[in-house]
């Protein structure tokens, strides 16, 4: 009897510890969101999404240029980074012992741990100093460099999760090797790869450091990718370090917009994985 009581107490204590750990992990996130909502929501309006910034001292205006800029920069980064990352991931999963694959995997792991500002400086040295111009394209390249190792490693892990028996079944039906990889293995792993890709897109959408020396930021609506371009994280940064109280307000509001963009992408990722014939049914 005594032992049973003790056992129940230990069990309850452990469950309590787990709950405490979960709460500790989630609370800061909730506080950030709450803080953003409290400080940023007040400045949010329809105009904020559609208007351009106004000179310091005036009230009103918006961050339309930064929203457009983020979409363009991240869009181009995705066009470059996703195919490269997914392709490299498939290669590493299909030829796990290959010398090129092991090297690529090692480099990707190192890259995953590289601070994003280093990638920004690298892109600056590689592109900006040669073209002698800050440009959205250089920013996209920096973001793509961040995406490739992330997407590559998730793709590799997900492709490896596809049972070997499926691959054999396809080969035994007379599928060629590349057709097996694409039509069977990749198709089966696809929902997971889509999630991984969208998460990577969401992550780089919030990156500031790689854009500082590349896309630079701008006060104007700009569709020319060879020129400096605004982006939401840069706008947050610029407003936040500015001297005016109204700018700080705008920084909060812009940060909230950024979070909303990331949220929309994450929800899209969840919806994309809820497919009819996923690997988990």
């Amino acid at each position: 009897m005594n032992r049973r009581v003790l056992r129940r107490w230990v069990s309850n204590a452990m469950v309590g510890l787990m709950i405490a750990a979960v709460v500790t992990a989630v609370l800061p996130l909730l506080f950030i969101l709450l803080d953003l909502l409290l400080k940023g929501a007040g400045s949010l309006s329809f105009d904020f999404f559609t208007r351009m910034p106004v000179p310091a001292g005036e009230t009103g205006g918006g961050v339309a240029h930064a929203i457009v800029g983020t979409l363009i920069i991240v869009g181009i980064a995705s066009l470059i980074g996703l195919p490269l990352g997914i392709g490299a991931g498939i290669f590493c999963a299909e030829y796990p012992g290959n010398r090129l694959a092991t090297t690529t995997r090692f480099v990707a792991d190192v890259m995953n741990g590289t601070p994003s500002i280093v990638v920004g400086v690298f892109a600056w040295a590689l592109i900006v100093t040669r073209t002698k111009q800050f440009s959205a394209l250089a920013g996209s390249c920096a973001l793509a460099m961040l995406m490739v190792p992330m997407v590559m490693r998730t793709t590799e892990e997900l492709v490896k999760l596809v049972p070997h028996s499926l691959r054999e079944a396809a080969l035994a039906l007379g599928y060629s090797r590349w057709r097996t990889s694409l039509a069977i293995v990749l198709r089966t792993a696809l929902p997971g790869i889509v999630t991984g890709s969208l998460l990577a897109v969401a992550r780089v959408a919030g990156e500031t450091a790689p854009l500082l020396f590349t896309a630079l930021g701008s006060q104007f609506m700009n569709f020319n990718v060879t020129e400096p371009m605004a982006a939401l994280p840069l706008t947050v940064f610029n407003y936040a370090i500015g001297p005016y109280e109204e700018w700080h307000q705008l920084a909060w509001a812009t940060a909230l917009v950024l979070i909303l963009v990331v949220l929309v992408l994450s929800i899209a990722a969840r919806l994309a994985t809820r497919r009819r014939f996923g690997i988990n049914g």
Binding site: S165, L166, A172, R179, L190, G281
Partner: protein
């Protein structure tokens, strides 16, 4: 009476994994429209032998062979033979059901046909229906051909895999312990199916289950430690084996 020519035969087939020899010097013949069982304890090389028959063995880590495998008298390991084309002539069903999870029931059956390209739409429907009927699955799935294949039960999935294998009309069907992961009722259905299928195909079946070999096969070959110890008509192997090892195995003294 002259014996009919063998449809599929091996001549001194040795199958290796790197330096390890899994199958030693096996010469066997499989005649057209017969069911041929390969029996033996785990690790005796029977599955490796089977996989060498449609060149799946060479896809395994370090897999290579010496000797010959002859399909209709022609060496399938000859330089000019494409393994992909060959596997369309020698189909294979695996131990665990392997329906393609991203495909519907219909698409699973059509998968092997589509890679050949030239099938018209109407023709495809007919072949899918015919294949599912021959796999004794049609009545259970005809109303949900467009639904996911992984919603089927294990036994149904295995019959689906059989339908998928026979749809491109191979000449030979290899079965690698097709009932090992199934319940007795499903096993019985598959066995009945194998008996039906031999009218159209030459069948080689690996099985752990000696009763199964006795029930479905015309010939039985006993493998032990990479050697093919004895082969003959199933009745003779089970009632009057010539080798002591064979008798010991089928009477349950080892393995």
């Amino acid at each position: 009476m002259a014996e009919p020519a063998a449809h599929l035969a091996t001549d001194k087939l040795t199958a290796m994994y790197g330096k390890f020899t899994a199958v030693k010097n096996v010469s066997l013949e499989f005649r057209v429209n017969t069911v041929n069982a390969l029996i033996g304890p785990s690790g005796c090389g029977k599955s490796t032998f089977l996989r060498a028959l449609n060149r799946m063995h060479e896809l395994s880590e370090g897999g290579w062979i010496t000797g010959q495998v002859l399909l209709g008298g022609e060496d399938i390991y000859a330089r000019k033979v494409s393994p992909m084309q060959l596997r369309r002539r020698i189909g294979m069903v695996f131990q665990k059901p392997t329906p393609f999870p991203t495909m519907s029931i219909y698409d699973n059956v059509a998968a092997g046909l589509r890679i050949n390209g030239s099938h018209p739409r109407g023709g495809l429907d007919a072949v899918v229906e015919q294949s599912l009927r021959r796999a004794a699955l049609w009545d259970e799935v005809k109303d949900r051909l467009k639904t996911s294949a992984i919603a089927l039960s294990g036994g149904q999935q295995q019959r689906l895999c059989i339908a998928r294998t026979i749809a491109p009309r191979p000449e030979v069907v290899l079965l690698d312990e097709p009932t090992a992961s199934l319940d007795p009722a499903s096993t019985q259905r598959i066995e009945e199916l194998v008996f039906e299928l031999k009218r159209d195909f030459t069948i080689v079946i690996v099985t752990h289950n000696m009763q199964q070999a006795a029930r479905v096969s015309d010939t039985t070959s006993f493998f032990y430690m990479g050697n093919m110890v004895e082969t003959g008509p199933t009745r003779q192997i089970f009632t009057a084996p010539k080798q002591e090892q064979t008798e010991a195995y089928i009477t349950g003294r080892f393995g």
